[in-house]
């Protein structure tokens, strides 16, 4: 976390501020100094999380949006109309809040600014202390590192390992993620497709990489010269499992455990361009 974000949040909390802390990685909404919502492009929104598994039919969600969205009281509407129990709404909302907050408070999330008075359209459910949100985000970062200390896996599209078929099967939740690991879907996209919190997908990806089902040293997003090989059209629908892997050969020896793959690859591209 960049050093000024926690202190800024603490000041805002002490002042009982209401508004949105906005960064490149998303926004944290405060009401009277407590966190009431968070959203991030890296994490599925509360709408996706509520409707994806069929818990809330999309029509009911749209109806709530139309009726209560303009008044920023969707949570209240869902409760009053018996769409969800109070506890279930709290569970799902807290899950979404901490999920997005993890990305908003990322160490490399860029500068922060505060928009006073901004209110999120979902409405207040169960406000959380700023300190709790920061502590949980730090715990989550440690948790991922303890699982498998390769942070670049959080951003690049996961790629299956070629010989993983011989490994023991994985639990259903992880298998769902593995099925979408085709070298094109980013972790954020996988989370959105599965309708699961994005952090949960990061956990599954780290576990799958640690158990050898996914490549740990995955290629960076294709740069100039690689676009054709790794482009979306390159992987035909129904292609054999190994196809995507073969198209993204990793050019470095296995011993290079801690190298910054992106930097090395750019360096190689630059050198080749001069040959």
């Amino acid at each position: 976390m960049s050093p000024h974000v926690p202190s800024m949040l603490v000041r805002l909390a002490e002042r009982g501020a209401t508004g949105a802390l906005i960064r490149d990685t998303g926004a944290l909404y405060l009401a009277d100094g407590a966190v009431v919502h968070a959203e991030s492009p890296a994490a599925p929104g509360i709408d996706v999380l509520l409707t994806a598994d069929g818990r809330l039919p999309s029509e009911q969600w749209r109806e709530a949006m139309d009726a209560a969205g303009p008044h920023c009281r969707i949570a209240r509407y869902l409760l009053d109309h018996g769409r969800l129990s109070g506890a279930e709404l709290e569970i799902r909302h807290l899950s979404a809040l901490y999920d997005a907050a993890y990305f908003v408070l990322a160490p490399d999330g860029g500068p922060s600014r505060f928009r006073h008075g901004a209110v999120h359209w979902f409405g207040r459910v169960r406000p959380v202390g700023v300190a709790d949100v920061e502590r949980e985000s730090r715990r989550r970062r440690r948790y991922l590192t303890d699982l498998w200390p390769h942070a670049h896996l959080d951003a690049v599209p996961p790629v299956r390992r070629r010989h993983a078929a011989r490994l023991p099967p994985v639990p259903r939740r992880q298998q769902d993620v593995l099925d979408l690991a085709d070298g094109r879907h980013t972790p954020a996209l996988i989370a959105a497709k599965l309708g699961r919190p994005a952090f949960h997908t990061l956990v599954d990806i780290r576990r799958l990489a640690a158990s050898g089902h996914l490549e740990t040293r995955t290629s960076p997003p294709p740069g100039p010269g690689h676009a054709e090989a790794a482009g979306p059209g390159a992987v035909a629908a129904g292609a054999p499992r190994g196809a995507a892997v073969r198209r993204l050969p990793f050019p470095f020896p296995d011993t290079a455990e801690d190298v910054d793959v992106v930097v090395l690859r750019r360096l190689r591209d630059a050198l080749e361009a001069h040959l």
Partner: protein, 137 residues
């Protein structure tokens, strides 16, 4: 029942109850806690219980002869393979009750009881009832 805290406070009314928590097991997030935690740290308790719950919910040896839910009848796909986990420790009981909502995050209730005062059968029944009402009422 109106929210997480009310549910946890109701669990705490059971004889011998020392602490209760609602935990998301994939992330280890404590969604709510009341009472004491073994070792005094609710966050650590939630993270450790979550790891344990994950093992019970995902390991094929516990999830039954039909294998993981995905291999069973479609109607059954969302059903929980494991409903409760009971740990009988030297001085206490730990009851974990998974929530039945078709909820991808995976959530369980955790109740810590004093072994000398608690009634295990009664506690188990009340936890089932609480977990059911939590998502219905």
């Amino acid at each position: 029942m109106s929210g997480i805290d009310e549910c946890l406070l109701e669990a705490m009314r059971l004889p011998g109850a020392r602490g209760a928590a609602l935990v998301e097991w994939v992330s280890g997030l404590a969604l709510g806690v009341v009472g004491e935690a073994p070792g005094g740290d609710h966050e650590v308790m939630a993270a450790e219980a979550a790891e344990f719950a994950r093992g019970a919910a995902e390991m094929p040896v516990f999830t039954g002869p039909g294998g993981p839910a995905a291999e069973q009848e479609p109607a059954d796909a969302k059903a929980l393979p494991v409903e409760d986990v009971i740990v009988v420790a030297r001085t206490g009981y730990h009851l974990l009750r998974f929530l039945e909502a078709p909820y991808e995050g995976g959530v369980f209730l955790h109740l810590w009881l004093d072994r000398g005062q608690a009634n295990l059968a009664l506690s188990l029944m009340r936890m089932r009832d609480l977990a059911e009402r939590l998502v219905l009422e």
